[in-house]
Symmetry: D4
Subunit: 250 residues, 8 copies
């Protein structure tokens, strides 16, 4: 539509109905972004291996199902992801989109159609404790749907450092590492000191009392003495998987 | 004085000037604590290896010198300690108490006269970084003046975990361990997981930005996933040395 | 397995198939920690009087029962503890581990098989109010399972200081004291001033309004004017019992 | 002036130049408060024993001197008080108001002309430590200038509870008690439990680390388990002296 | 019992079986507080017009009923109060203590037997909005059971200041004023400026968003520019009523 | 009534029963505000296009219905608004006030009788995401009932800035703009930079983790680098609609 | 320059060297915003009555002088404003821009050349105390340079509400009101309740202790019970003057 | 040394003085990490393009100079970096290490000897305002010393979004983008939405009032609605440059 408007103007220039100066003036006020909209959006899908992601929390099962279905149709061969999704939401989704799958630990509904490997290296997802696994699994699911090779290493928190050290070889093979930890959030610093690749730290809301719903872990990670650590929001496994996948892109 | 009052009353009972019932009644209202005062105080000095400690911050050099001198005289053979003390305060102290010494790193003025070893094991004081050393040294000075055998291990923070692991044998020989760390405050958790003795964690105000003057380290330590960690106030090396010495008492 | 790998290498050295220099080089890259893993773990059990503890909160009854049972089998004569456990979780546990017991006030599931007294003195557990008793009881249960002699003194908060003073003799007999208090968290300071032994302060989430779920008590305890006080996380009765038992070890 | 306006209107009513209805209408819009201003102010001085108080902090010496002098003239026989005042400010004040005096500990400039005893009982001002004395002295100075009988009891903090208990008789004679404490701010609860009169708690900014400039003491006092405690702002000795004097009024 | 012990000792002194010196020594270690216990407690009831108050929140209906009944029996003619009590708890209480009454707005269970007027003036309880009334009513109930003459003035918040000003006469007749306000908590400052008596400010948790459960109101009240304001904990209507009654005592 | 009192006094002046001086004196103590009360209130309704608004949250359905009905009767032709209202509350309202309507997205009950257009320009209400729409709709409903011309623009958050830029023309036509955003709350700054009219920023509680229930958005908006932004409370769509309508008044 | 590029392209279309389709494609990638830059900027100056404002804090005197001079030349007849400016910065500015003036209370350097009255009503700037005047004066200076009619009313805080009420007529004549207050920040609510126009609340950092550098006032204002209040950043007098001027624009 | 010990043991195995089993046992207790220390360190230098970095803040000029010189000698061809360094520290450094250079904006001392290009793409460093440039320059200096191709784009904050949009082409060419912003910290979200590469957000302490020393920006960035944003500590330009360089490694 807007392309049509623009083309019409240019044809008027061409046919000399409109002067160049007049056209310059009109173009300055053109709502150009609308032109760019679809293109940008198209670019995003191409560039990132998947379209918009649905944040399930606070949406009804019917809403999630409808959005999921619409995205699945608009972006024919792309992968679709809904995070923070309940089993009830999944039941509604799968009724409309039969090939959708549910990963209960990750609380993620996925539709994987594009199995191209976009990343070049491996993403390692680490959890400090077993309670951090849901957040870690959300990162895993996200990264896998973005075409990454993902490996995980769970329950290797700092209070038993030998558990982590026993897997030093695994650490050494990753292109980027995601570390999910609650409580004191110390694991990213230790991991960061053992490797020479970027570490994405995810504070989790695991803990009680002075953990203050993940604040202690968040502050700990932001103050990491390891220089290769950056941080995402509390419990934001999705964001970590997303950033790691972008780092890992070819 | 109060003893005199009490003795007088009892003598009146004895000489039957006062009945037992009347004495019971009077005794109930006796300011008994004054009786206990000197005794308790005396007990404290005996029990803990040293008398009151002077907190130097916010006191004038003259004030510190006067209190130091008075304590040194009252408690003849005891050790005297002034913490958070400046060199200027030390100059004033040493002018009156010639045998006092200054430990600049620890910012402590000490007068060590009682060299008895009250502790039975060894206290290990660890610092995560070089900037945490002043706090660690305050702990060392305190513990030494309380008659403990103290060893230190500095700059073994979690971002280079091999530095700590290389000294695992040293860790294994301590009866109690003090760990001073700023920034993310992760070291006590790692140390706590390596040993089976109590760990006293001291958050330091080292760091910047979201370290919030030691708050990040404090919260991290309170949420330690190692069960053998307890925490004292930010930069409170004195408290850590004090508690560790009590743990280590025979 | 890793032992086997190591032994194989050493036998190759022995049979001169591999030179000493070559072996040095290979050993540097050995995933040595796996060797240490079981041993360390074994050490922990021996050293501390019990194996891993289960944190019940957020786990299903089935999960708690399975972990409890597995730990009970792996560590034949050791004591097993699950904290923050519900009655429902206990029902699941006792179905598999018939000798398990439930302490409802402490919300703890226990299996006490090792009744050896590891500690040498007595641990005194104090609560400020009746609402703090569950946290105090968690400390009691933990310390008892770790082989300590435990005594308690409840509802002796600072607003009625005579209640505490009446038990001064009891205070004087403890080797280490745990003080659980919510609201303003003032009791550890008062207790700390009356004794010459370590005091472990446990802030509780008891209170309302500006108690901010235990924050007021936590800050109060960290700022204690008594030098012998250290602090654990809000409501962390387990941690206090654990640290106190380590202090009290022979 | 405004009285004049009103009288003029009323005289016009009287002389029937203005109807009652018209006067009602006009009176509704009268800036009546200006009438009340002087009166109210006058009332305040009478009622409370002194006029406005000057908060010295952030004012120049010249400003303080000028305001002090003006107040001294307007309120002929009243007492004048400047709080948070420096010695430099006092020098400027005394140059203009020769009978002004300086209380350095309280950082207060006073001009005491009215020595009437407005209160009926005694106000007891307690400090937990020696560092809290400046705040306590501000309360003392304020209460004295408001015509109260004031007594003080310093350095009786909770870590040495016997020091407080030794003065139980003194506590029992007060009509209202002010308690100034920093660090954990526990003293008001203990005092509150010992007496049956109102306790005004003043948190001080004394302490370091997690004292957070008086926040720890403030929260502690707000959560006092003693029901007779109310709280004023951090370091607000003036407010405490003021409230206590009003409580103590005949 | 303890009296017996003491009397026995004194009789032995009297009969010269025990010397005065020996008795002084023994008395120092006497658990004297137990002697004082009942007496003190008795004093409290006499002094304050009522015995212990029950905090209902978090207690079962049966527990509240049992404690209520026991207190009612121990303190024969005294008033009994349970705060933060539900209707269910009241049903349990009234089954045992038939004369107990429930004030649903105040969420208070009361047993009023002593109708003596202990206070000399009048306590005025003000609420800023209608949502603050439950807290205000708790203050009213408390003050009434403590023998005060109480009047209330509700819904006179600062956004319609004329509502308050219309009752200036009422304000002027109070000996002490309690002001309950949520949201910005501004009302105590305005009231404080209009009167010359103590104002007890009670922040309420009324509000949303940046009210942060009463924190905004609490901070506002602590920073009141009116000098006659002191503050109690968020929603602590009981504390305010208690303090006000003590202020108002004859 | 009060008018009557006043008129009576003035008539007494007129008939010379009372002197002017005596009348001045009496008038100073008149509870004048009561005179003004009804008038002021009347003014408010006239001035602002609607009477008091009902905050539904925490009120019973019956309470909301009763207040709604009473307001509808008192203010005959005015619009009535209840915010934060549930469907259940609406059912109770509509049973009494049959013309009331419910706007579920806005959670608002409205009775629109006055359809006069009080504003002169247009209010544009923008939401960053779809989750912010309920807050935005509350602003829309409020502004409409206050007689404003309102347009909205939803889901134009900063992560897809082209969506906003595409509507630059719409932005340019508004007299005042309301921007509702959660999470990082960045949209008001961007909008503010694009226009030369006042922007009212409404932080929403949308987000998780370090969003801290709207605190992150609130702080972001307060620190806006655009100079034309002012802020209301978290989720306060009503306040934003109210302020915007006042700005937009003729 | 970019215009030149665009004109060249259009001339190529006109001369049929480039097809319309090709031109559409190229235009999509044109850095169009550069075209718009100067224009937008020009618009801003026209629209808002003044160009960019200089934030003086943290800039050297030389930097402020240079920027001021450059702006004064670029925007020939416009007013120039530097906020948070020191006298030293002013000396540097006036050396280059001789007609610049300094308003010390407002800490503002101004160059007023455009004296057109852009606003239609009056802006009233109120301060609660005398310490809030610098912030208020910054608002005054800003609004005056933006062509507003400004009046002020200082030292009318809520603790002496009659001072404010005495000026009710002045309040009633303003089109928009700015209220600057520190401490409890209650004044905007009271003012907001007295008027029917928008109130811009400016929290100031005036206060001590629990004022927390303006946080108490900020929270208070955000929770105002008056619906016509919106808030800007702490001490942001400039922002308030700016927003008020935009509201007041014809 | 440790190598020697190990070699000795292996030679004993070889000469059959020690059995393989005995050697396995001994090796388990070997302080192996010391072996690994130098090697690991060496690895770090190789792997990351530079050795340890010096944090200048809080160190004396002499200390910085000495450490700088030692690092320069140990790591012959590597680049050396000191951050948060003053001009005075630089003078001390350059006296010992003559080729060192000072970048005053970045407050960085650099010694660039290795000019190899380790990265494969380009790092773009963006600042929102001119006050954020020092932090941005620290990121630039760090990334350049780690062998990255770095470009910057300053003063393109969200309040003038056209400034950023004008450089969309530049954004599109970066492999990773660093965004430094204070105040509301909104820029990373906008940038994140425009690109498909990782964005490292650096909150700066620029701002005042409710910026709370960078907290507002930090929270804003953590809650970014753009999925490709991760965050480092406040003012941590070094960390951002470090992480970006690792992402950009070949």
């Amino acid at each position: 539509m807007n392309s049509a408007v623009l083309r019409k103007l240019l044809n008027e220039v061409r046919s000399r109905k409109v002067s160049a100066d007049e056209a310059v003036s009109r173009l300055r006020h053109l709502p150009f972004e609308d032109l760019g909209y679809a293109k940008l959006d198209h670019h995003r899908a191409l560039r990132q291996g998947m379209p918009e992601v649905i944040f399930g929390e606070g949406k009804s099962a019917a809403q999630v199902a409808q959005i999921f279905s619409r995205l699945a149709k608009c972006h024919e061969n792309a992968n679709i992801l809904a995070t923070r999704a309940s089993d009830e939401q999944f039941q509604a989704v799968v009724a409309q989109t039969s090939k959708a799958q549910y990963r209960p630990l990750a609380r993620a509904i996925t539709l994987q159609r594009d199995r191209h490997r976009y990343g070049k290296g491996r993403i390692l997802v680490i959890s400090a404790g077993t309670s951090d696994i849901p957040v870690a699994e959300e990162a895993v699911a996200t990264a896998e749907l973005m075409g990454s090779d993902v490996q995980h290493l769970y329950d290797v928190g700092v209070a038993g450092i030998h558990r982590l050290l026993a897997h030093r070889a695994v650490l050494g093979k990753a292109r980027v590492i995601i570390v999910c930890a609650g409580m004191e959030g110390a694991l990213p610093s230790v991991v960061g000191g053992l490797v020479g690749v970027p570490v994405i730290a995810v504070p989790t809301s695991v803990g009680y009392g002075a953990a203050f719903e993940g604040l202690a872990a968040l502050l700990g990670m932001l103050n990491s003495c390891a220089s290769n650590v950056s941080v995402v929001n509390i419990d934001n496994g999705f964001g970590a998987g997303y950033v790691a996948s972008l780092i890992n892109r070819r």
